[in-house]
């Protein structure tokens, strides 16, 4: 379970939001909404521990993530605006390195089946620099299928994906939720996941009125 307490975010002199509180239970999906510049990416980066909040805490399973970074990182899979792929390496190499770095080494078969599932098996052994934006995004998203991260933090995961890939990804998320995992995502598209586990929050609610 992820808990957010009294979170405040500042960028430069501007206060993006303050006094934010929410919880994300196992098996739940939280869709973070908000207008451009409302701090969606900042919120996600704070939750991952990449960005320091001006005030407040983020805790995972009741423990502050800053004090249990390794434990939290093991449970986390973050996919940001950047795909986090090395252009000179192939899709398989990129995924294999990522799997080993996160402490959940994957066999070639596992990696290939993950790429199969995102529909990229025929490009598995090409350097990722020759792939299109959408294909690169798919390689990045294939990381979700490897390793046992319970919390997925996805920043605009549907960018550059075609219609088919979007519905595939929603299927992957549905499976993850059914297995008790949780998803935190931002997107401007509509997400169609079973309504019981799906919640929305709107950052404009916490925006500091000037």
């Amino acid at each position: 379970m992820l808990q957010i307490r009294d979170l405040e975010c500042r960028r430069g002199d501007a206060c993006l939001f303050s006094g934010m509180n929410f919880e994300l239970q196992d098996g739940q999906l939280l869709h973070v909404k908000g207008s451009n510049g409302s701090g969606k990416t900042s919120l996600l980066r704070i939750i991952c521990g990449l960005f320091l909040p001006a005030a407040g805490t983020v805790s995972w399973q009741g423990l502050d993530i800053r004090e249990n970074r390794d434990e939290f990182n093991r449970a986390l899979c973050y996919i940001g605006h950047l795909n986090g792929l090395k252009d000179d390496l192939t899709a398989v190499e990129n995924l294999s390195i990522h799997a080993r770095l996160t402490g959940t080494p994957a066999t070639r078969d596992q990696i290939e089946s993950a790429l199969e599932r995102v529909g990229l098996m025929h490009r598995a052994y090409l350097a990722t620099k020759v792939l299109s934006q959408g294909q690169k995004r798919r390689v990045a998203l294939a990381r979700l299928l490897l390793g046992g991260a319970r919390l997925w933090v996805l920043d605009e995961p549907f960018t550059a994906l075609d219609v088919k890939a979007v519905s595939q990804l929603q299927g992957v998320m549905r499976d993850h939720l059914a297995k008790g995992g949780s998803v935190l995502l931002t997107t401007h598209q509509d997400v169609e996941i079973s309504s019981s586990s799906h919640r929305d929050i709107n950052l404009d609610t916490w925006a500091k009125s000037a």
């Binding site: 950047l82 795909n83 080494p105």
Partner: protein, 227 residues
């Protein structure tokens, strides 16, 4: 399990850096050719008097090594920063300082070791005798990892800063001064038939100190730069 996966992660970082460098060999060669050319310019500028060249050789080779290893620094973290792999490294369930140490080690293998291997050739070119060349290689072997370690702190601090390349030089070169003094000093002392052991000990002590502290500093700087 924790230790095993940590070692796997370290090996992965080193192997990744080497694979990437092999796919993009020009980066390694630029450093090396810069080193060769910089040293080669001196006989042309100073004149072919072998006595003069022999006297300045340790200093020249060391200064060229400093500058060459600095050339490669700006690439140490910046490409990872731009493609987002640095974020993923920060989110790995391992101490960041150790992963940074892995990266620096790979960086040294790719930019420091070639300088050490090439130095005898340049030493001969400047008229050093076999003993002096051996000692020069020894000092470079002890000194180049220090350059990579200190450089990593500078590279992490200037990450994402405009004009970072020049800033690194201003930040890092003053810190390279002790390495230069100890390294060139040892070879110089040997040429004057003075005891040179102390210089090597100092260099070794400096190496141990930077191995212990630089990865922490670089890791902290990376966390700040990524924000």
């Amino acid at each position: 399990m924790g230790e095993v996966s940590l070692i796997t992660a370290l090996r992965t970082v080193v192997a990744r850096e080497i694979t990437l460098a092999m796919r993009r060999r020009t980066d390694v060669f630029t450093t090396l050719f810069f080193f060769i050319i910089a040293v080669t310019l001196f006989p042309l500028g100073v004149g072919p008097d072998i006595e003069v060249l022999r006297t300045i050789a340790p200093g020249v080779i060391w200064v060229a090594a400093l500058l060459a290893s600095m050339l490669a620094l700006s690439r140490l973290f910046s490409s990872d920063f731009q493609d987002g792999t640095l974020e993923q490294l920060l989110l790995a369930p391992h101490p960041l300082s150790l992963l940074v140490l892995g990266k620096v080690f790979a960086h040294w293998l790719l930019t420091g070791v070639p300088l050490v291997v090439l130095s005898p050739l340049l030493g001969m070119q400047l008229g050093l005798d076999a003993q002096a060349i051996g000692l020069l290689m020894g000092t470079l072997l002890l000194g180049t990892p220090i350059l990579s370690l200190i450089g990593a702190v500078g590279a992490a601090l200037t990450l994402g800063v405009r004009g970072g390349g020049v800033l690194i030089s201003l930040l890092v070169l003053p810190l390279y001064v002790p390495v230069l003094i100890f390294g060139a000093g040892a070879v110089d002392a040997q040429a004057k038939a003075v005891e040179f052991g102390a210089w090597l000990y100092l260099l070794g002590a400096f190496l141990v100190m930077t191995i212990v502290f630089a990865p922490f500093a670089a890791a902290a700087a990376l966390r700040i730069s990524v924000e």
